[in-house]
Amino acid sequence: MGKFVQLVVDGLSTGSVYGAIALAIVLVHQATGLINFAQGGMAVLATYVAWRLTVNDVPLIFAILVSILFSFVVGAVVERWLMRRFERGDPDTAVVVTIGLLTLITGICGWLWTYNNQQFPSLFPLDTVSFLGVSISIRSIGTTLVIVVAMIALQGLFVGTKLGLALRAVAINPESAASSGLPVGRLLMVGWGLAAGLGAVAGALVAPQLTLTPGMLDSTLVYALAAVILGGLTSPIGVVVAAWIIGVLENLAAVYVPFIGFDLKVAVPFILIFVVLIVRPQGLFGRKVVVRV
């Protein structure tokens, strides 16, 4: 029994990592209707800034806050001077632009701070708490909690606040939103900035475990995309829950399903998506949409 709970707890912790990046992707999609492949890269850039500060003996919390602010500015600047030109054009081109941005940012990180693994201090102490015969590291509890807080904040922003409503209106129809006086340009910048800031949080949470390298979040991106598709593009809560499901099922399948094993456990999220999409094409939590032609 202990092993099962342990696998579930480990799954939740890895799932939270996928969830953090997935949240940032949903935020950008909600605000600008684009899928940002460079979300992970921008998070890594922010984490390098935080790491650089900690190396100069800046306290960790302060370094992370500075990196979140830095990331917000980078997100806004990227939207204004790079993405703005491509938002109205062909969606495939816009996606490739974000891929170009990811490659460029990875290159800049590699050039400035080399490709070696940098140690990043952890927000949470390393020791563990054991309960129900299962030992859970404080770090994974901390990571999960921070992601839950971010998720609720995001859901609240989009459903409850004027800013959230404005961000969504701009994503749906910029001209129509403008006719109600919404500052479309500034809102797009804010949308990207918030997502980049959220990415910085995810980076700071993940770096202690994965060690900081320019490509740290590359393999997480695919799982985050899987969580975004599974959870539904319109719901922050759905995406995080989907990420947890993926993390947990991946571990359980690897141990309990004989054929899968640890090498093919990567197939689990995709099989899951297939099953869900057959039943609910708009994802687990996305809103069913009926449109009159």
Binding site: N173, A177, S179, S180, V291, R292
Partner: protein, 180 residues
């Protein structure tokens, strides 16, 4: 009316000009925000307003003005019928408490009865709120039930101007439409 005419407005993007100066525009394509619910569409209309209580009061007023929207308040705007989307577009426009309302082909694509309901509601809005309106409308008879004066354009040229009472029965109008 004087203030708007003196201002030089060309070159600015329509959105920022209209809202800032208190002009509300009901675009021909209605500009419905499909993904948002009816209530959220109305709230977007009131984006520039600071008086939260006033906004809530106006939402209730709109729902009273357009009863059809009342029972669709929770559903996505994209699920509304053509007529309902037109009503939503007008409601959203007046949510910004404009001084001037531009109505662009409000009856286009609607069944005659629905078009009539929309115009009745707009007429009630006119009398109760006193908002000045500029209405572009092909359905002349419907337009005359609402407006005080009208101008008939034919191929862009101003063919006829007068109060709606004068123009109502004139065969000139029929000739302008039917040509020849």
């Amino acid at each position: 009316m004087g203030k708007f005419i003196q201002l030089v407005v060309d070159g600015l993007s329509t959105g920022s000009v209209y809202a800032a100066l208190g002009i509300a525009h009901v675009p021909e394509g209605r500009g419905t925000l499909g993904d948002l619910t009816v209530r959220e569409n109305l709230r977007v209309g009131a984006y520039l307003r600071k008086d939260a209580k006033g906004v809530d009061r106006d939402i209730d007023y709109c729902l009273d003005l357009f009863p059809n929207l009342q029972d669709r308040i929770k559903s996505n705007a994209s699920a509304l019928s053509g007529g309902e989307q037109q009503m939503l577009a007008v409601a959203r426009a007046i949510m910004s408490k404009p001084r001037l309302l531009l109505l662009d082909e409000a009856s286009l694509g609607l069944a005659p009865s629905t078009a009539k309901n929309v115009y009745d509601a707009i007429r009630r809005l006119r009398t109760e709120s006193g908002i000045s309106m500029i209405v572009v409308e092909q359905n002349a008879n419907l337009a005359f039930t609402l407006v005080d004066s009208a101008t008939v354009l034919e191929v862009g040229r101003n063919v006829l101007t007068g109060t709606s009472a004068e123009l109502k029965g004139m065969d000139e109008i029929r000739r302008a439409y039917l040509g020849g």
